[in-house]
């Protein structure tokens, strides 16, 4: 391998370690278990969404609706518990169903109605942003709120549900690792294994690379595509559950950045280990990369409004790594 190959393959990982080393020296308290956990926690929800969107990228699609699926799931969880006064399990099941149904509709639009993926999921995004406001006439959901018909909602977030956002597991240090981080890690390993080691994951990559060849190799291409959107929808709704559990209310204004952050993490993932294709490991590293960068900058007192700019810079650099340096598609 030439120096260039090494640069493409390990460049981003080296950059990541360089960043950690720099912040360790420059920022006080950056090296601590609490700080590490905080980084993981800050990227947990976007990371889960990013892993889902990776599945659609693998089949050559895209899902712009993940952010609004997550916020819809959050509002639904709040509505189910606060207004309908149901328990945590019902709330979680409703959220997952919403994710699966939206994924099915997305897949149906793209595969059978032949709407281009970006447009179909863009439409779905608008639809969901609007839909989640209708039941409460645009108000956030919290215990004691007044409903449109004048009644007062008396239900509350169950403790079991809130634990999803607030409970911390002991890990050498008591109360260290939040549930959301565990969920992120478990889902990351699951989707990574699924994409890399199962025949279904392999065929999804084939569908993304040459749909016609996959079809002539006997694969049910349409089903694979629809499943990819279902995976994406379900992962997004899991992100929404975690968001609701963290906030403890159905906040109409939260979750604005989820889509862009998740997509950025998945695209940064292309550059990790020179994969030059969507991959779960890369996506996880991409999410972490953004988290570490933001945490480090924050600890060095960089103002919060520079964050989006920094993310954008990282994304652009990663894309240059992927498309220009690795030279895919040039020969």
């Amino acid at each position: 391998m030439t120096l260039r190959d090494h640069a493409i393959r390990y460049g981003f990982i080296v950059l990541l370690f360089g960043l950690v080393a720099y912040f360790s020296i420059a920022a006080d308290g950056f090296v601590s278990p609490q700080s590490a956990v905080f980084i993981f926690q800050s990227v947990a929800i976007t990371g889960v969404l990013a892993l889902g969107v990776t599945a659609t990228l693998v089949v050559g699609g895209f899902d712009l609706s993940i952010g609004s699926v997550a916020t819809s799931a959050m509002m639904a969880a709040a509505y189910v518990m606060v207004v309908l006064e149901q328990n945590a399990l019902v709330a979680v099941v409703v959220c997952l169903l919403i994710g699966a149904i939206v994924g099915l509709i997305n897949g149906w639009l793209i595969v059978y109605m032949r709407v281009p993926d970006l447009l179909a999921t863009l439409g779905m995004m608008f639809l969901l942003v609007g839909l989640q406001r209708i039941p409460t006439e645009g108000r956030s959901i919290a215990t004691g709120m007044t409903m449109p018909d004048g009644s007062v909602a008396n239900g509350k977030f169950s403790d079991a549900f809130l634990a999803l956002g607030r409970h911390r597991f002991d890990f050498f240090i008591p109360n260290l690792i939040p549930v959301s981080v565990v969920v992120l890690l478990v889902l990351a390993v699951l989707i990574w294994f699924f994409l890399e080691y199962t025949r279904f994951g392999r065929m999804m990559y084939a569908v993304g690379s040459n749909e016609r060849a996959a079809e002539l190799a006997g694969a049910p291409v349409k089903a694979y595509k629809i499943w990819a959107y279902v995976i994406s929808g379900v992962f997004a709704s899991i992100g929404g559950i975690l968001l609701a559990a963290r906030l403890g209310r159905g906040d109409i204004a939260s979750g604005n950045n989820l889509l862009l952050d998740a997509v950025a993490a998945a695209l940064i993932g292309y550059a990790v280990l020179g994969a030059a294709k969507p991959n779960a490991f890369g996506t996880a590293v991409g999410a972490l990369f953004v988290g570490i960068l933001l945490q480090g900058l924050t600890m060095m007192n960089a103002p919060y409004y520079t964050q989006d700019f920094v993310k954008g810079v990282v994304l652009v650099i990663a894309l240059v790594f992927t498309f220009a340096l690795s030279g895919r598609g040039r020969r």
Binding site: T2, Y197, T198, R199, F200, R202, M203, Y205, A206, G208, S209, N210, R212, A213, A214, E215, L216, A217, G218, A219, P220, K277, R331
Partner: protein, 503 residues
Amino acid sequence: MVGNAVFRVEGLRKSFGHNEVLGGVSLELHAGEVTVLMGANGAGKSTLVKIISGVYERGGGTMALADQDFAPKTPAEAIRAGVVTVHQNINDGVVADLDVATNLTLDRLSGKGAPTLFNPARVRREAKAVADRMGLAIDLKARVSDLSLADRQMVAIARALAHQPKVLILDEPTSSLSSAEADRLFALIDRLREQGVAILYISHRMSDIRRLADRIISMRDGIISGIFDKKPLDYEGAVNAMLGRKIHLDQIVVRNSAKAILTIEGLRIAPGARPISLTLGDGEVVAITGLVGVGKTALAETLFGVRRPLAGTMTMNGKPYAPETAGEAIAAGVFLVAKDRGENGIVGGFNIQENISLPFHKRMSRFGILRRRLERATARRQIEELGIVCRSEKDEMSELSGGNQQKVMVARWMAQDAKLFILDEPFQGVDISARRDIAAKLRASANGRATLLFVTELDEALETADRILVMSEQTIVGEHRNADVDLDRLLAEVAGGPLHSAA
């Protein structure tokens, strides 16, 4: 020799990494001459063409056009200098979403002196002039994506000719043309030759070469291995220089089959077509030949479950066979090596190993988890079996020559035992030695299955098959045992037209 060289290449070199593709190539092209370039796949023809046309940078050597140094940095520069190339991949030469007229005048949309505003009337006028000059009978308003492959090819060539080139390079231009269309192309090449254009013609088809060549240059392993310009041209010598061994038409020992594997009765694949009935036997290699567009691919796809027949039944090993999807066909033991490997076969993001295992994931996995060791062993065995030239089973497909890519496609479907093995144009863009390897492999492994080839080239059928069926107008019109073929009758059947026999 006719006059001086218009175009001269001296000591051209090119390497990709450690892999030297061109090792000092020198050649001349003369005005008003057709120079045919022959070479096996991987000999460096495509690389040479890409350097001349400004796609690749050269590694060393010089090029001169009319005694001026010629060093195009982009394809556009080469075209403006008067060196125009029609590449093998047709879709590189046309923009599918635009209409024919815009395609024909596309290059006038940019460059110095191009008008800022797009004027459809002027475009159509100019396009009509271009089309008339080469006798192109295609609706100028049609979208290129709606055209057949052959028509697209004609548009791509017409577009290249709109530049009035000094040097014209044609890279396997007839590989997807019917013989009538090829004749039109040849007539055009004759006219250009009279106008003094220097033409470099790359082809594997001996019939083209005999029809057109003024000189033949053979390439082998990145160098020129022979130049033939004395009349009459020494075709055998040229082939020999290209392959480096004496080729002789392997005489086929024709086999007859006792046991039927697939029986087709009354199959209709197009409205108004006469029904097809045929039987394919165990151990038999049957070739179906016919011109482009007579329904060969439609029949292949019908057998493979990608297309539904209008009428008729199929029986396989005594059981009814009516696949609804490719998956069902594969499960029933019917495999298809589809034509046009780039579009229908190769998964670009996958390496050789992953390309080979593609249809058989289920058989290669346990609880849904791929058994990578088995996958790798299968790939290695298949690479060995078919003599695929590569460094390892992890090589990217884009690093392989066309012939080796095709071998991977055949290897993919030979990794498991088929009952009916269908190959649609398996020798498209494949050099003679790879073609012989594949044909020999097919014949050697034919026992236990029926093998069905769809080929346009008669030679390919004669070289590989026990039995040759002729297709015309979506049906089978003739059958020949490949022992003492009545070529006149066969050619008459291929050419179609009114059938004289009692129908």
